[in-house]
């Protein structure tokens, strides 16, 4: 009970002070719009976002599988190549989510000690996974199927936007 009262009192005090002394500003977005400039979307980024979109974990529901089939049907792969691709995609999804989980745990641990997580290392590992998946596609699928996937990924660039945005919150009365 005492804790809740303390939360309430502190929150009211904080918000009151906040309203008087803080300002918040979201700066204009810096965007690379793939619909306008697909050449500015890196191949690795396009492949990663395509893989994320079309991959499903091995325990996917029937609905998830239907959706995956819809996304992959345009590739017109043979049954064998389609099966290989679905397996590779499941591996990718599992490893991608696991990599994110591991990084997030390390980030929380670093922040708990007032430190900074090693984002660059994570991004390198993430991009390595994408490249490994690309190599596995080239190795396990027929050259024709692999080239169709490459073409699809290039096409996918038109559906991607890369945003960097800065948000500034000024406290202490200054603007």
């Amino acid at each position: 009970m005492i804790r809740y009262v303390a939360v309430l009192v502190l929150s009211v005090f904080a918000l009151g002070t906040w309203a008087q002394t803080s300002s918040s500003h979201l700066h204009p977005d810096t965007v690379i719009d793939g619909a306008k400039n697909p050449e500015l979307i890196p191949d690795s980024t396009a492949l990663r976002l395509w893989l994320v979109t079309v991959s499903e974990l091995p325990n996917a529901t029937a609905q998830d599988r239907d959706r995956q089939r819809a996304h992959l049907s345009m590739l017109q792969l043979s049954e064998l190549d389609n099966l290989q691709l679905v397996t590779l995609l499941a591996n990718f999804k599992g490893q991608y989510l696991s990599l994110i989980d591991r990084y997030n745990e390390s980030a929380k641990a670093a922040l708990a000690h007032g430190g900074q997580p090693d984002l660059n290392l994570f991004l390198q590992q993430r991009d390595d996974l994408v490249q490994t998946t690309r190599a596995a596609i080239a190795l396990r699928l027929s050259p024709e199927s692999a080239s169709r996937i490459d073409a699809r990924v290039q096409e996918h660039k038109k559906h991607i936007q890369l945003h960097t945005q800065v948000h500034t919150m000024t406290v202490g009365g200054g603007q």
């Binding site: 502190l10 049907s73 945005q165 406290v171």
Partner: protein, 265 residues
Amino acid sequence: MKAITTFLLALLLCVLLPGAAHGQCQIQTFTNYGVSTSEAESGNPFSGSPGGSLQADLIVSVVVDGSATMQMESYGCPDSVVTQFNNNKQYITHFPSVLNQIGSLGGWSQGPSFCAECYSSYQTNLDSGLLNVGQTVTITSGAEVTCSMAGLVFSPPFNLLSGEIAYTRSVNTGIKAATFVLNGQLWNAWAILAYCNPATSPPDWNPLTYNAVAIYPPSSRFYIDGIAACVRINVTGAPWFCTPGVSIGWDQSLNLPQAACTHNP
């Protein structure tokens, strides 16, 4: 747990704000996210003979994938406040929201929260249900990230698109655009030309090739009926971008007429 987090955040604000009054302190959040919107057609509306009403589902998947970093500018801000901020950053959380809407279906979905400098990959998928070919729908997609301390830290403009399932009939020109081997089987990619009636020409989707196993002569795959998921910016006259779905080839002996293709200029 929520009460504890709220308590700590409130405490952080109480510590920061009076301290910051001595100088100007800025908390900056740098966001770096990729937003991808993908469309696909689901379902095979073609039966054993040409004709009939064609319907299929439009699937839209939206992904927001990336991370943010937060820092307090040390210039002009007391070291004690910067230290306090860094020590308490662990209690700040972010959560993604994705806008995925087809007509009046769908809308905003909120993803799981994550730490201020964690990485997030959040996806939503939406199925339009059966659409008639040529029926246009409005697709709205976008993403936001909200910070428990700083509010909306990532909010790019939304995408407003038109979507449709497009149908096009084509004819096989008999010209091989390519020959390839797929799992030990020889295939031909035949060059095809749209075969639509004047009122529906040019079609919104204009496929250029049709792949068939090489044992089939072009005459046995002469008329090609196909559907695709197409999108464009929500402006009349803008070009359509199409993702091919299923297609089927019919024998030349059927003497099919030019079709009423999908044509929404």
